[in-house]
């Protein structure tokens, strides 16, 4: 990381004044998704710049997970465009999107319960062929998540909820993503573990991973993010700097309680 990048990640103002306007890593344009007969997403415009942490806030069923699922190509949009690194990925199959550098830690964690922790992590690096680098990353995950190292030969199905969440994040990181999609990393976890996971997210951001975070805990997410989007019934109703959203009266009333 260069000095100017380091400054930019620490001080958003520095970026705003002294750096070139950021190139969007991901750009979603006029996205519409139908889901079981209902319009799940309507006219979504969303940008994620390299190095940012962007969060999607909204009530249950607002379309947060659907947005992530559209990006990682688990569902087909009805219309609109998803552009990643200048490439249109709107119709690419899901497994190719991973190869391009997008990793998705999905809703409900979805660890492979019948395989070991180690196998889950190794499968996270399925698209990579440099075995030495994969091994180094594996060690790094075990450093970040020491609890996974202790349980490396245990079946993933036997892990606790918090450990499964860590595994889902670590597995996503094993693909060396440029863009990490995190879906509800705090769901159903004890407060102490939530804090632990969010501190890991902060550390990740320092390593240059761009993160699109879906979260129900709006306060925590906005505190950790650069920018945020508010989703309501499949539409984006508000967007801005996370710090501004934190202080916005409407957001406070609806999501921060």
């Amino acid at each position: 990381m260069t000095l100017s990048e380091a400054l930019a990640s620490e001080f958003p103002t520095y970026r705003a004044f002294f750096m070139k306007p950021p190139i969007p890593l991901l750009e979603i344009k006029e996205l519409y998704v139908n889901y079981g007969g209902i319009q799940a997403l309507q006219n979504i415009d969303l940008t994620v710049n390299a190095g940012e942490v962007v969060t999607l806030i909204g009530a249950n069923g607002a379309g947060k997970s659907t947005t992530l699922r559209a990006i990682s190509r688990l569902i087909n949009p009805r219309s609109g465009q998803i552009v990643y690194q200048g490439r249109d990925i709107t119709r690419r199959p899901a497994h190719e999107v991973v190869q391009l550098g997008i990793a998705h830690s999905p809703e409900g964690r979805r660890v492979l319960a019948r395989q070991t922790v180690l196998d889950n992590l190794e499968l996270g690096a399925y698209t990579r062929s440099n075995l030495a680098a994969v091994r180094a990353d594996l060690d790094r995950q075990f450093e970040i998540f020491p609890r996974l190292a202790e349980r490396r030969l245990q079946l993933a199905g036997t892990l606790s909820g918090g450990e499964q969440q860590m595994l889902a994040i670590a597995r996503a990181l094993m693909s060396r993503p440029k863009l990490l999609l995190l879906d509800e990393p705090s769901l159903g976890l004890a407060p102490a573990i939530v804090l632990e996971i969010f501190s890991i997210i902060r550390d990740l951001r320092a390593t240059g991973v761009t993160i699109l975070l879906v979260e129900q805990n709006a306060k925590l997410a906005l505190e950790r993010a650069d920018r945020g989007y508010i989703l309501e019934a499949g539409r984006i109703t508000l967007t801005g700097q996370a710090s501004n959203l934190l202080n916005d009266d409407l957001v406070r009333k609806a999501y921060l309680g």
Partner: protein, 316 residues
């Protein structure tokens, strides 16, 4: 029952059981990935036997479009066996394209896919009959080269002769099972295949091409069917295009007995049914199938998930 007869029947049972095991494994692989029984599996068993027969340069009979035709090459049995099974594997891949994939794309009910695989089975059987007739084809006498007809597993005074074919069948089955177990549990692609079986959505999020692995699974499964078909045919003969239908039903009994979707279950189920059949008294040998299915029936009442099956099959 005296001891030599017992040992002899036990070894024969193991041999038959091992062939049931690799055949049933084909069902299991597809079932664990798609949650569907491929009813064309028995037809691919038949097809493998015909392919190998043809690759050995043997002529076909009087009836059918290919009457008296023979390939210009005469491959040795081992090579013909591998190639013939591989051809069955490729037909399996085509079956997936024609009978499975279009319905999967439309998210059709799995019952429809079962019916469509049954349809493919009938097409294959009828096509065989159209091409080479319904007569009995016997593999040439020198199929197993200069090997003796039987091998003695006892002593000179108390011989326990086992047909060489049975020994070869057992050996080939063990080798195939070992390779397959290693592939699935120890290699990257095997683990990816298990991931597709457990949760295809997660697998695709990890960058695994799920459709590619479904194709690979059909190839392996149908290769196993073709291999089993050839080995059984080399032991008895190819009695006709309906050869694989009865065997296909037996295979179903094996996987239900062992536990649907369980690979060790398929192997255990195969060996158990093979041994049961071997110990059916000679007077009742015509009712072998009834014994096998009788055991299956009792099993379903006592332990419906099978010997090694999971009690609750989780499908996401």
């Amino acid at each position: 029952m005296d001891i030599t007869l017992f040992v002899q029947q036990f070894l024969n049972g193991l041999s038959i059981g091992s062939i049931y095991a690799i055949f049933a494994l084909g069902y299991t692989l597809i079932f664990s990935i798609l949650g569907i029984i491929n009813f064309a599996h028995g037809a691919l068993f038949t097809l493998g036997a015909y392919f190998t027969y043809a690759l050995m340069g043997e002529a076909f009979g009087l009836n059918g479009l290919l009457a008296n035709a023979a390939l210009p090459v005469k491959l040795p049995f081992a090579l013909a066996l591998i190639l013939g099974s591989a051809l069955a594997g490729l037909v399996g891949v085509a079956v997936e394209r024609i009978a499975f994939r279009p319905l999967r794309r439309k998210r059709a009910d799995s019952l429809l896919t079962v019916v469509s695989s049954l349809g493919v089975a009938l097409v294959i059987v009828n096509l065989i009959q159209y091409l080479v007739g319904a007569e009995n084809y016997t593999f040439p006498g020198n199929t197993y080269g200069n090997l003796p007809a039987a091998i003695n597993f006892g002593t000179a005074e108390k011989p326990i002769p086992i047909r060489t074919v049975q020994v070869v069948i057992f050996g080939v089955s063990v080798v195939i099972l070992t390779i397959l177990t290693y592939f699935i549990n120890r290699t990257k692609y095997g683990k990816a295949m298990k991931a597709v079986a457990e949760d295809p959505i997660t697998a695709s999020l990890l960058g695994i091409n799920t459709d590619g692995f479904i194709v690979l699974t059909f190839f392996i499964s149908s290769f196993l069917a073709g291999l089993a078909g050839t080995l059984v045919a080399s032991s008895v003969s190819i009695p006709g295009p309906y050869f694989g239908i009865a065997f296909g039903l037996k295979g179903l009994a094996v996987i239900v007995l062992g536990g649907l979707g369980s690979i060790p279950g398929a192997v255990l189920g195969g060996v158990v049914i093979g041994l049961i059949e071997a110990f059916v008294p000679a007077d009742y040998s015509a009712y072998k199938d009834a014994f096998a299915f009788g055991i299956l029936f009792i099993m379903l009442l006592v332990r419906p998930q099978g010997l090694l099956g999971r009690r609750f099959v989780q499908k996401v």
